[in-house]
Each structure stands twice: as structure tokens, then as C-alpha cells.
Symmetry: C2
């Protein structure tokens, strides 16, 4: 063994998750799983490493450049940079076993060697759900409902799901004979918020063959806003005369109508005809989700409908729709909105230790409490002298309880046990309550359940 | 877009997890998390990639050779091959923030480029829990209790936790002046089951300076068996006269005694003085866990006490104890014991679709059921014609239900809805029950709850 210590450090852009960060992170993933499952989505996983040919050239030039790619023996391999490309490979490979429609969720780590900066990491988690093998609008509707349930289950009430349909803009561009100009038109439209409509119109006239009327019409479309009903009404005349645009409007109307039927209305749903997302990829419904209190965080859950997921790997045509929950962004937002309690324990109760001969009693109470679903820690560090426990001083044990953030501490020294009671200290207000100690700890369980509910 | 399809395939030794494999896998991980949390263990995570100097030379020569190691820019990096080395680096780096005792669990993927073979993969999950920064026997006791709760929560009743303490054998070797011969003695003892005690004694006499009496004494130790009380009794005279051996025996006795006090007795706990595990690493308590019905699967949960976790990264002395649940091995065993139902859905109920104008009704029922905690899928693939749903033929929808394994299907066509009822088909016996449809679906919820409980 060398005397030289190795400096303990992590790679730039990579993170250790300490308990106070990992506890809410795990809870968020569990909430997502619970909501996905409640709709019948099933989990899958794919390897971290794929043959490079599976991943290269599937995202953007940027993702290729940022890929962790290396030779393993004679194999050219790479770490996945998202969960969508592996999904495409997966359904192409297992199509017959899976059957369609296939509804899957996938929570997994992905890697991108981008320049580390505030809030950007080289290793992060994605949390996707997709319905593959159907063009049914029922899946579009479900996607919006899942997002709504997700946001509420996580604890948000003030959020807005923005809904659009690529067919509307594409149809309006068709109508104006500008279908092949969509990239340039969108590039100009993208600046609407910053430079205003006059300048955007100027740019459109310069960079595309649009006439002044056509540019006005497109601007009119992008500037539509209001309630769901108002936007749908304004969209009517703009879409008239083009089948694609009308179809897009009809799909938006059906999604919004069905969402309304289960209580998702203007409070949390808006039609936003200005959102476009993933220009070349999405072909129908598009969704983004914004926090009303933190709009600058950008979308925390986004997705849309695509025509053919696995075209690079299979002749099987696989249309679908999916969305991705932005875990890291959501956690950052929850932190900022003080939605995450600063806890460092997963347990509800700490049992402090006194006399060594009572350890079996403490273990018995802990066992009863756990059986009743109450997470219980027995103070883990009594000192051993001559093969016997000596408890640490009570103030050290309470320091541990405070530092970790246990809501309750159970005190059962010889005095308490002699009268068949325990004391429960409720840490937030310091009150102590004596509870009779029965053989199955029923009184303690009941008292704690009342406090926790 | 090239016409040439890319062959969808995975790297040798890497796996796709299809839903029927991933559903029980996720459930197993969730069970482990629930049990770990019930004892106050907290989750952490560490990066997949570390500086190579952190990982190299920390396991065996074999782990070094099997490591996925590559250059990322100018950085020499490697993928973690276990969760223990990253834990050592982690606690060395964050010691002050964490405080001790520190109880953590970590479920994560690790990579080893070993030769793929049946049941061996290059990418697999580990599921560890450790208590760091205490020498207290209370943690040894807790480790055994956690394993017991884990096995029961997973669904096993017939298992045996084998308990030993390295101090016993080390003490007995000290007594025989053979302390520096432990590797050779253990190598010989390891063959006890195969070649019998006479041959083992021969080998000991050949390869070590042991006398015939010493060899007999060691063999006597290794061959002790019986109930906990019997083994402890037989250990008495063998440990007499050596402090280390006596201490080991006392620790075994304390762990077994405390376990017995919460009901973990001879049924599921045995003292097995022949187990040694990780010769150079463990220093006290050692545990292994075997399935009584599948002993050849080897240990499914193993661990032990160590003296100084982070000595390569920190001057801080960090003793601890931990164990690791063998996820893949357990899943294989559960498969073989037919403990895993062959389900491909996470939902309890499928609502089939009839008339398009009823979709909002179906969404409403599904929403009610989800709110009551019943996972519900609305058949995702009605056909759209003229912008309106047409339901797929009922037999296609039932084929989907059968293939996925939904326990129940809700049927609500115009006939049913006209009389404010739905029919629930219980798939395992094919019975259909008519239930009144209330505005909050309370009757359906109640009927299903009764069926599921």
C-alpha cells in the first residue's frame, strides 16, 4: 500500500448526489413511474453502450461531436446520448415480441460531452414516455393527460401545458406556397418576442419569397392568443382552404376537448401556435410545459408526434407520440420554489439508545414500527466496551437527529421502561409525549400515524 | 437518408430489458429501496465515469483488466466496476458534509468487460447498503436484520443467512502460530466439501508448517455445525485461550441473540464458520444468504465488516459494514421458482373502446379509477376516419388485453351506457359482471378493489 493518497475528485461535468439531493431525485423518479404506470405504460431498459453505428448521425452534428465514443477491443462503441435513438433500435429489434401499440417509459442516464456550465452536466437522467405503433389521436390526448397528472403528482398547480400541431403552420405555409421555406420562416418567427413583428416581417421578406400579404398571414398566425376557445376560433379562417391546416386545427380541438372533459382546462392548458420544437422530427401534436412562477426555466416536459420512429433500422413503419420530463430542470425549479424539505434521512423516527441491556427492546419497537410502515432507525453508534454497548451521550444522539432531520425521536431509558412507557419527542416543536408501551407498540404506531397524517 | 438499413443489435454481454423482464426488475429495486429506507439508510449516486486513477488497482488484477477505460480528450477515464470503490472516494471527498455514522444505499449499474457466458453480463446492477464510521456491533446486527427483511419483502421464506466472524478463524490460527498461513489454510479448507477432511489435512501438512494436532484443530473448527446454540457451544473450547477468537465468538453470539429477539432464529439464520469471503478485506462479521430451494445459485446477499474503507483517499479512518443484494441472481432464482407472474402490463384494467362519441366517458372512468389508485389503460389505438374515432374490432382489443395480461377489462358500449352500467370482464375466469356507473365510478372502484385484495 502506497503512503501517497489519491485525491478524491470527480470529473468535470459529473456529479455526486449526496443524500439531500438524492432523496428528492429518487422521489421524483418514483412519482414519474407511478404516473406512467397508472396509464399502463411499461418500463424498459437498454444498454448504456451501443455500437457506434447505432448512435452516430442519429441526433444532430452536435450530439455526434459530444458523444463518449471509444474502442473496446475491436469494437467501436459509444455511450447513449438520449433514450430515443436506443428506443428506435429497440423496437426495430424486438418488434414482433413487443406488439403494437406499445406504450413504454424509460428512466435512464445519458451522456453528452458538452462544455460544462451552470445547470449543464455531461451526465444526466432522462425520463421519457412514448406510445408507438398508432396514429390514433387517443394517444395525443393521453400524452397531455399524463403530463397534467405528472405535474400535479409532483406538487405543481401553477403550470401551463402549451399545445400546438405542426400541421397548422405547415398547412398555412402550403397555402402560401412557402412549404419549402419553413426553416427560414421559423428562424424569423423565433425572434418575434425580441424584435417585434415589423422586423420579423422585414426578415421574412428578405430571406424568403413571401409576399407582404403572406408574411402578414404568417405573423397573424404566430400572434394568435387567448383562451382555448378564442384561439380555436381565430384559427378557423386562417386554416380554411387548406386540408392539412384544418386537420391540425381539428386535432388540437379534439385534444383540448377531451382534456377539458376530465377537468384540464384553461387554467393549465393553452394553445400556443408559436411553438415548433424539433423542426424535422415532429409531424403533428407538439407539447411544452412551463412553470407559471418560473417561465425562464423553459419547458419542463416536452414532446410530440412523429411519423416513423425506427426508419433507420427497420422497414416497419412505426408512428408514435412521446414526451420527456426534464428531471434536472424540475429539481432545480423545485429547489428555487422551496418545494423540497431539507431532509437527510429517509426515516420518520430515531430511537436513541441508553442502557445496553435494552437494545433488544429498541430493536423490537423498531421492528413493530417498520411493520406498520413507519421507517425507523435505531441510533447506529453505541460504543462497545468490554463487549458491551455503552450508549453515546444523549446530546450527541440528538445532534445526529437534528443534523439528519428526523421528525420524531423515541426515548426509552430505564425510567420509561420501568413504567412501560416511552417518550416521543416531536423535533419541530420540542414537545415530549409519554405513550404506553404495549407488546406490539400499537400506541406508539397510532400516535405517530396521527402526527404524520 | 440512406436506403441501407442499420442492423439493430446490442453488444455482446449487454442486454435489452423488455417489459416482462423490466417490470419485476423495477419491483425488486423498489422493494430494496423500501426496506433500506425503513431502516433509515439514505440514497446516494456517483458518476458512471471516474478518473482512472480512482478505480485502477482498487479491486483485483481481474477488475483492472476488465475495466472499460478510455481517453476522453486528455482525460484518462473509466466506467465504475463496482459501487464500493466509488463509495470510498465519495466518503473521502464529502466526509465533513456527510457526518458519521453514515448509512447509505446505492443502486447502480456497473461494467466489467469479462467474457460473456450464461448468467454473466458486462453490464449489471448492484444494490448495496453500508453503515460507515462506526465499529458498533449494533450495525452488524442491523445488517443481518436488513437482509432478513429484504428476503421476506421480496417474497422468500425459505432462505438461510449464514453468519460468521473472521476473528474466529484468525484467532484460532493465531493460537496455532499459523496467523501468516491463512491464505494457504483457507485454500485447503475450501476443498473440504469436495475431497473430504483427510485429504484437506494432507494438503495442510504439505503446504503449511501446521502440525497434525494443529491441522486437526482447524478441521474441527471448519466442520462445526448445528443450531445456533450448538455451534456457539462447540466454538467455546476452540476459542478459549485466544482473545481474538473469543471476541469473534462473542460478536457472533451478540448478533445471533439480537436477531433472535426479533424473531430471526434457526429457521433463517445459521452460524457457518467455514465461510470466509474477501480474505483481505473483511475483518469481523461476514454474512452470506442462500436460498434453501436453490443452494447451487450461491449467495444472493453477502457482505461483512471492514476496518478502513477509504484509506487510499483519506487519512480519516472509516470502519464500516455493508452488504450487497445480487439483483440478477435473485431474479433468475425467482424465475426458476416461478415467483414472477408473466405480465406485460403495469395496469390493472383495460377499458375497450366502442363508439367514438363515448371517448370522453371512457377517459372520465379511467381518471376516476386512477385517482383511486387503480392503474387503468384506455385502449390506445382506435382508428381515425374523417377525423373521428372508429374503434378496432372487439376481438382485436381483447387479443391486446390477453397478450399484455390485463386482469380486468371494462366494457361500456352504447347498450351499457344507456342503462348507466358497465360490464367488467375478469380475464382469468372469463366472468362478466354488470356494475352501475355512477358519476365518480364508485361502484366500479369498489368492485375492483374487492377483486384485487
Amino acid at each position: 500500500m502506497s503512503d501517497q493518497l489519491i485525491q478524491p475528485r470527480t470529473l468535470s461535468g459529473f456529479r455526486d448526489f449526496l443524500p439531500e439531493a438524492m432523496i428528492p431525485r429518487e422521489q421524483l423518479m418514483e412519482t414519474a413511474r407511478r404516473v406512467y404506470r397508472s396509464y399502463g405504460f411499461v418500463p424498459i431498459d437498454t444498454p448504456t453502450l451501443e455500437y457506434s453505428e447505432i448512435l452516430c448521425g442519429k441526433g444532430s452534428e452536435e450530439t455526434d461531436r459530444q458523444m463518449y465514443r471509444f474502442m473496446h477491443g475491436k469494437r467501436d462503441v459509444a455511450m447513449r446520448f438520449d433514450l430515443t435513438v436506443p428506443l428506435a433500435r429497440f423496437v426495430a429489434q424486438h418488434h414482433n415480441e413487443l406488439g403494437t401499440p406499445f406504450k413504454r417509459y424509460h428512466i435512464g442516464t445519458v451522456w453528452r460531452g458538452e462544455r460544462p456550465q451552470a445547470g449543464r452536466y455531461r451526465e444526466f437522467a432522462q425520463c421519457d414516455f412514448d406510445t408507438i405503433g398508432t396514429t390514433s389521436i387517443a394517444s395525443d390526448i393521453e400524452t397531455v393527460l399524463v403530463i397534467n397528472d405528472l405535474m400535479r403528482a409532483i406538487g405543481f398547480e401553477k403550470f401551463t401545458i402549451r399545445l400546438n400541431n405542426r400541421k397548422v403552420l405547415n398547412g398555412v405555409l402550403q397555402k402560401a406556397d412557402l412549404a419549402d421555406q419553413s426553416v427560414l420562416v421559423l428562424r424569423a418567427l423565433d425572434k418575434l418576442g425580441k424584435i417585434g413583428s415589423d422586423k420579423v416581417k422585414e426578415e421574412m421578406l428578405e430571406t424568403t419569397p413571401a409576399t407582404s400579404e403572406q408574411a402578414d398571414c404568417i405573423l397573424q398566425l404566430a400572434e394568435i392568443n387567448g383562451t382555448i376557445a378564442e384561439v380555436l376560433e381565430q384559427l378557423g379562417p386562417l386554416c380554411d382552404g387548406n386540408e392539412l391546416a384544418q386537420q391540425g386545427r381539428e386535432e388540437i380541438s379534439q385534444v383540448a376537448g377531451a382534456a377539458g372533459s376530465v377537468g384540464l382546462t384553461d387554467n393549465n392548458l393553452a394553445i400556443d401556435v408559436s411553438i415548433a420544437r424539433g423542426l424535422d422530427y415532429y409531424t403533428g401534436t407538439i407539447v411544452e410545459t412551463f412553470l407559471n412562477d418560473l417561465p425562464s426555466f423553459g419547458s419542463v416536459c416536452s414532446g410530440g408526434r412523429y411519423d416513423n420512429l425506427a426508419r433507420l433500422y427497420s422497414k416497419q413503419e412505426l408512428p408514435g407520440i412521446g414526451a420527456s420530463l426534464g428531471l434536472d430542470r424540475l429539481l432545480a425549479a423545485m429547489q428555487q420554489l422551496e418545494m423540497i424539505p431539507p431532509t437527510r434521512t429517509t426515516a420518520d423516527v430515531l430511537i436513541v439508545q441508553f442502557e445496553p441491556e435494552n437494545l433488544h427492546r429498541y430493536l423490537g419497537i423498531a421492528s413493530d414500527l417498520r411493520r406498520a410502515g413507519i421507517c425507523t432507525e435505531v441510533f447506529p453508534d453505541p460504543v462497545v466496551i468490554d463487549g458491551k454497548f455503552k450508549s453515546k451521550k444523549l446530546n450527541q444522539q440528538f445532534k445526529y437527529a437534528n443534523r439528519r432531520g428526523f421528525p420524531a425521536v423515541i426515548i426509552a431509558g430505564n425510567d420509561e421502561l420501568a413504567t412501560n412507557t416511552v417518550k416521543i419527542k416531536w423535533m419541530s416543536d420540542g414537545t415530549e409525549t409519554a405513550i404506553p408501551l404495549e407488546s406490539d407498540s400499537a400506541g406508539i404506531v397510532e400516535w405517530l400515524r396521527n402526527k404524520f397524517n
